[in-house]
Every structure is written in structure tokens, then in C-alpha cells.
Amino acid sequence: MELWRSRFGIPSEAFEGYAFHRRGHNVWISSSAEPPDLRYETIGVRFMSTKGKVWKPTTSALQLFGGRATKNAIDLDPDQAKMFLAGESQNLDADLENGYVVVSYRGMVLGCGLYSRGELVSQLPKERRIMSDKIENGSFKGDR
């Protein structure tokens, strides 16, 4: 939790009432007080990966809690958002520290990005990506 406060400015109150547990290289977050005593595949939503040197927040968790970030968060314009959604990297001049960042578009948290030396690398898992020619609607019409 300390990471979420120091890196994104998300207060630990945001996580009050949730249960966390570690399994392998992952931390999971769950809102169910006491699930029955059974053999589980998974409980709740994957929250962070503890594999690397720096713990990495998941896109799922950022979509749920990243909206409260006060730093290391960036709102993209339509063209940038398209690239991010396609899973691509892009040059971006922004007021961000190197490391994982919360990436949004039109007030929607899109997910996790990795920022380093002026480059934003999309960390969206494959099944959450979409090529811009497939996007169905007018959400990218014009500059908003």
C-alpha cells in the first residue's frame, strides 16, 4: 500500500475494508469479507505483480483505484490513447517520474504504463489491447 501512496498519492484509506493475499509472484485484492472455506483457483482481482525489482500494479487494479492518483498519472489525447490501447510505445514529454504510471483518456483509466526517459510503454495485457482500426465508435472523433 505504501507504494500506492508514495508513487501515486493514493491514500491508504482507499483500500480500507479490502483483503489482500499473496500467492506466487502476485498480490490479490478481494472485497469479500470471508469467502467460505473451499479450495480456490483465485480470490478477487490481481492487484500487483511482485516479480520484478519494482512491484508492478496491474491494469485491473489501476482501473479500479488509479482514478484517485494525484501524481505519476497522465491523461492522453486521442492519438496517444490509440497508440497506448494498441500496446505500442511512444515518445511523450510529460511531468512523470520514471517507473509505472496511471494512464487515462477522457477521465477513464486505461491502465498501466511504464515511463522512462521520455518514452511511454503500454503495459496493457494482450487481451485488453485493441488496434485503432477496430475501435467501434466515435470516442476518438476530433480533439476533445
Partner: protein, 318 residues
């Protein structure tokens, strides 16, 4: 439409029923209140020029004017979930409340699991059970995308699910899927009585276990997306000693009552099915009495609400 002929006597306005099967299904989405709220979402869609219509019975369901709404950014981000309108009825009838303990015995890919989770506002606990290993990833990714944080996934054979007392249990059983014909016409030609009878035993065991896993006074919902009484009333009728049938009626949605009896010429219907195994003995059972209580179940036909076909029973554990 030879396979629908057997329903001529139970479906009102049979001709338009058959005709409706040939029309494409409206594309529908559910608004996921775990991640967005309705007004916000509607504003977003309007700004983007996405056209949609409301349905009378469910404020969170939209009929959307797009072929592939799955490619909407709102779907990718989990603000919307593509789900057939009539399949939203199971969770509505189950009526789970925040804080309760709920079991979804046949859960993948999790459309109803996540709907239950949102009705519970992520409070309490939902156990989503699915034995098929290859269907677990879709269940998990839907829960993650939609932010269903009170869901825990198990992988038991539903018939052998370990002993526990849940407040509510949903059994959305595997079935022959005749009600999906508007999406996939081949389900009708693939149907034969033998398939319904073959899956019936599994359905009965799943329902029986579901009833055992419910606390006295708790609610059990049994649903399928098929018309065959063999997979619906014939299954529910086997647990009547342990449950009361509560009448299903969803304001704004037309339905027909469940069947209390069913006469079928099984001799004829078994033509075309391989004649093997215990089916030969079924000839005597050609007429079945299911019991008057079964009237409380709901049959949804495609032409009555312009949806897919569906069956729902709501049971209270004695």
C-alpha cells in the same frame, strides 16, 4: 423448422415464434455499475454518437446499434459488458443482496457471476464455480475487466461441490441451447431428443446439489436457454420435495407459465437419433406430469420480447 414443430401446442402465436427465430438478435449490453454509473455512461455514449435504446424491464440493459460493441472502448474498460438481454433475467430473479453469500455453480464465462457481483455492490461473497479448465480464463478475465472483487473462483464438478450453506445458489445449467437459435441457427439442426435426455441427468444432479447447498429459506434459481421441457420442468420436478416454487414474474417482460404436463410422441422423435442405450425404455414415459407447482416457472419465447429463448425457475428451500 422441423425441430420446433414439437412446441406448436405450447407456444402462443406459433407462426410468429418460428418467424422470429430467423431474425437476428438485438445486440445488447449491460452497464457495469461496479465501474461506472448509468448517467455517466449514457452521457459518454451520446457524446460519441453511439445509438442505443432502453428496454422496459431493466434500466441497466441497452440495445445498442452496433454490430461489435465488444470493440467499444467502454467495453474494453469494463464499463459495459456484452450480454444477451434475456440471460440477464436469471440474476434479477435470484435477487442477491449486498453482504450475502452466493454460489454460481456453472459460472463460465461469468456474465451472470459479474451481474450478481454488481447487484451485491461488491459486498459479501460470490463463489463462481466452473469445472472446465479451458473456460476458467474467460471467467477470470471477465471478473477482472469488470472489477468484480467479491468473486472467488473454484473448479469443482458441480455435482460434487463440497458441503456449505449459501444464501442463494444459481444453477445456469449446460443445455442444448435451442433458445440461442437467433444467434446460431445450427443449434436447431443439431438438436435431437436424445441430446436433451442425455444432458437431463447432469442437470438434475446439478440442481439437486444446488438445493443441498442452500440454507433453509434460501433461494435457488435454475435456468437454461432451451425450450425442451425435458431439460426444464422435468428437471425442476425432481426436487419438489425439498423446495417451494415461487412464481417468476418480471415486470415489463412477457413470459408463459411453466408446463404442468407434456405429451410427446417419443417414438417419432427418437427417429434420427441413434437408437441405443436406455432411451428405448422411454416410450412409456411419453406423457409426463410435472405437477401444478411448475406453473410458477417462466418460459421466455423470442417473439414475445424480441430476445433469445429462456427458462427460469425460482425455488425456496424448505
Amino acid at each position: 423448422m422441423v425441430h420446433l414443430e414439437r412446441y406448436r401446442d405450447i407456444v402462443p402465436d406459433f407462426e410468429s415464434f418460428v418467424e422470429s427465430i430467423h431474425r437476428p438478435l438485438p445486440v445488447t449490453v449491460r452497464i457495469n455499475t461496479l465501474k461506472t454509473d448509468r448517467d455517466d455512461l449514457l452521457r459518454r455514449l451520446s457524446e460519441e454518437g453511439v445509438r442505443y435504446r432502453f428496454v422496459y424491464w431493466n434500466p441497466l440493459c441497452l440495445r445498442i446499434d452496433l454490430e461489435k460493441p465488444g470493440n467499444l472502448i467502454e467495453c474494453l474498460m469494463g464499463y459495459l459488458h456484452v450480454q444477451e438481454e434475456i440471460s440477464m433475467v436469471s440474476a434479477v430473479v435470484l435477487d442477491p443482496r449486498p453482504g450475502e453469500s452466493v454460489l454460481d455453480l456453472c459460472a463460465a464465462p461469468g456474465s451472470k457471476t459479474t451481474q450478481i457481483s454488481q447487484m451485491m455492490e461488491n459486498r459479501g461473497s460470490v463463489v463462481a464455480n466452473e469445472p472446465a479448465v479451458n473456460r476458467i480464463p474467460s471467467l477470470r478475465s471477465n471478473c477482472e475487466r469488470l472489477g468484480a472483487m467479491n468473486v472467488a473462483v473454484t473448479r469443482y464438478d458441480g455435482r460434487l461441490f463440497p458441503r456449505h450453506r449459501f444464501d442463494r445458489v444459481l444453477i445456469d445449467a449446460p443445455c442444448t441451447g435451442q433458445g440461442m437459435a437467433r444467434k446460431d441457427p445450427s443449434v436447431l439442426s443439431r438438436w435431437c431428443l436424445k441430446r436433451s435426455l442425455g444432458i437431463q441427468r447432469l442437470q438434475q444432479s446439478l440442481l439437486r446439489r444446488g438445493v443441498e447447498l442452500t440454507r433453509p429459506g434460501g433461494t435457488i434459481v435454475y435456468s437454461t436457454c432451451t425450450f425442451a421441457p425435458e431439460e426444464n420442468e422435468a428437471v425442476v420436478s425432481t426436487v419438489l420435495d425439498r423446495v417451494w416454487v415461487e412464481t417468476v414474474s418480471v415486470p415489463g417482460l412477457k413470459n408463459m407459465p411453466g408446463l404442468t404436463r407434456w405429451d410427446s410422441d417419443y417414438g417419432d422423435e427418437l427417429e434420427g437419433c441413434a437408437r441405443t442405450g436406455p432411451l428405448f425404455t422411454l416410450r412409456q414415459e411419453a406423457s409426463s406430469d410435472y405437477g401444478d407447482e411448475l406453473e410458477g416457472c417462466a418460459r421466455y419465447y423470442p417473439h414475445q420480447n424480441d430476445t433469445g429463448g429462456f427458462f427460469v425457475a425460482k425455488l425456496i428451500k424448505k
